[in-house]
Symmetry: C2
Amino acid sequence: QPPIDNSATAGEWQALPVKAESPAANPTTAEKVELGKKLFFDPRLSLTGTVSCNSCHNLMEGGDDGRPSSMGVHGSIGPRNAPTVWNSVFQASQFWDGRSPSLEDQAKGPIVAAPEMGMPAHENAIKRIAAIPGYQTEFRDVFDSENSVTIDNVVKAIAAFERTLVTPNSAFDRFVQGDRSALTDKQIRGMQLFSDIGCTECHSGPAFNGWDVGSTTQTFEEFPRNAESQLVGQYGLDRDLGRFAATNRKSDKHYFKVPTLRNISLTSPYFHNGAVAKLSDAVRVMSETQLDTELSNEEVESIVDFFSALDGEFPSIALPRIPSRPGESVLEDQEPAAVGE
Amino acid sequence: QPPIDNSATAGEWQALPVKAESPAANPTTAEKVELGKKLFFDPRLSLTGTVSCNSCHNLMEGGDDGRPSSMGVHGSIGPRNAPTVWNSVFQASQFWDGRSPSLEDQAKGPIVAAPEMGMPAHENAIKRIAAIPGYQTEFRDVFDSENSVTIDNVVKAIAAFERTLVTPNSAFDRFVQGDRSALTDKQIRGMQLFSDIGCTECHSGPAFNGWDVGSTTQTFEEFPRNAESQLVGQYGLDRDLGRFAATNRKSDKHYFKVPTLRNISLTSPYFHNGAVAKLSDAVRVMSETQLDTELSNEEVESIVDFFSALDGEFPSIALPRIPSRPGESVLEDQEPAAVGE
Ligand code: HEC
Ligand code: HEC
Ligand code: HEC
Ligand code: HEC
Ligand SMILES: [Ca+2]
Ligand SMILES: [Ca+2]
Ligand SMILES: [Ca+2]
Ligand SMILES: [Mg+2]
């Protein structure tokens, strides 16, 4: 029973899974998730003690930071827009250029990236965590061995937490599961148009990113495909070589991972460089650069309206208590206060 | 019935109130607290969108940031250590120098302080919040009027939330309420010593800061009182003129608010300049500079041990969902991404 009657619908519309699988090498357990949550929110993993994963992937909102590109320790600005971590488990690789094969592998990056958390080396982060008695105990309990505060276990815990960050039951999901009243007429028109003009060529599957449940191959596409569009220069969309930097293969120049469109209305600004502030303009960019199609304002609006139906249900998260080193900070190596007059 | 039998105990030991009163001008309501919580956690109140109240007053831990002095937008470092916001309602004034008379008044400061949230003016923060439909609705509901997104209402909501940040039922509280097994013998010795040598002269009352329930006068004390101590130079404790900067009264030179000692083991480093990393050293500084007394290592340890009994129960806080401007960030005025190769 097709969800909408128009048979022109190319998409096999799929609801988002309500739960993500975990890999055999890192089975999800409740305790591991709790530990990973603490680490995800813990700014002491950064050089200055001011930047946590949540700083750039704010789980109180879209799982992003709302900035064109992220700002890490010492106010340094990176080259790319922070993608959402909501539903990041529903893809076969991580980063805009897909250079990381797993959530575990990915989480090693930001801790030591200069414009992100800025640690000189993983050991420095491990030293901080190991100095906190509460973490020592928790790592031992979760990983069932002594000396278990290691970078591999840190990223296992973080990845286990990230696998819980799924947002099912959007209006769209309810619609494709049979609740015809979940979408407005305008949203249904937008959904139809999204399929008719070919957006679903790339943005298919339950997360609208070409991925299917169980798939381990990642979809990459050229962007911008139509380099002629004046929008390319206007937004500087051809400066980043994308996947080429990761593989050094000429054919990967300007190829990017097809990103999820789940909760897309919460993750402005758009594209790998965050140069496009408005979702309506992002839709125009896509139709012109990827499909060589000009849309009317009304058409753009209907797609934006459809996108608002992709806002999912966010699980309620209790603020973690992150453990302390009693009577002593682990940031004792920081610059002293500026001297007052 | 005195809590510990030794009558040398000068202190009238008092348990922490489990709930704080709200002022007539800003009655606490559940909806106002919820709104204030969102604002407290919302980094969009800062220039770069990266710094919230919680950045420096981390409620996942001691309500502080663990740094000698705080780091605000663009990595700028301020002159003072961030005090905890846990139990900040239990004092008659705010800031190390007591220059702010209320939580409402206090909250106006950081938003526009250059090394904190760095907004050029309150209007800029208000403009951001007002651009977010969900906030518009919530402010209207909480303050029961149109155009209620004002700086006065922002700080009222934040202060209402802060009034819920109390940590009762510490081991100490249970002890003074009659549970003699709540403290260890060593902690009781530390408690006794704390009183015997005169710490309670300044650190009295339920929050150990000279404040009593209902009191509206703030206790200020000279620090360091014994300027001769070599610890003064070692830690640069005489550089900040304290309350003098707020009042310009000569007699206020080097006067500081007596701070709470609740959860003191979670708020290293210590003193207004955060120069003392360890709680044991902070105890030595106090006894030498305030009481001209040298303590043995064993004595210092017993007081530190007593202090661990002041760790309270932290209320469980659900991570708020902060509202979005759909399809558009409110940080559209930020620098673009650094250009990649
Ligand atoms: C200072 C900002 C910043 C911090 C801190 C940060 N990230 Fe990111 N994150 C980014 C940016 C920017 C990207 C995209 C980089 C790229 O594609 O080259 C990214 C990418 C990711 C991705 C890939 C998502 C996708 O769809 O491709 C995940 C997952 C992720 N981060 C998780 C984390 C975790 C876990 C931490 C903490 C250990 C963290 N991030 C810390 C900014 C940040
Ligand atoms: C040929 C493949 C392809 C087609 C067709 C396509 N997209 Fe995309 N889409 C991509 C890729 C790749 C990206 C990531 C671009 C980048 O590097 O920022 C993207 C990004 C986006 C984004 C921004 C995501 C974000 O988080 O910033 C939106 C919105 C979007 N697409 C919507 C659409 C719409 C609407 C259509 C149809 C009009 C469409 N796409 C057609 C491949 C495609
Ligand atoms: C960049 C760091 C930073 C940010 C952001 C920040 N604060 Fe503070 N806060 C401090 C510092 C440092 C002090 C002490 C300043 C002084 O005494 O001169 C302080 C003092 C306070 C106090 C007084 C506590 C006491 O016992 O005297 C309260 C309450 C407070 N802040 C609440 C807030 C609220 C509410 C916000 C957000 C609107 C906020 N702070 C944002 C660093 C920060
Ligand atoms: C004459 C008043 C006075 C006496 C007596 C006194 N204190 Fe203090 N105490 C203060 C003041 C004022 C401060 C704030 C100093 C500053 O500006 O950092 C303070 C700060 C502290 C701090 C650091 C608080 C923080 O958050 O950084 C600790 C710990 C402390 N006192 C413990 C003690 C102990 C233990 C004793 C007894 C050995 C003691 N105090 C005696 C007035 C006093
Ligand atoms: Ca984005
Ligand atoms: Ca702390
Ligand atoms: Ca402190
Ligand atoms: Mg967002």
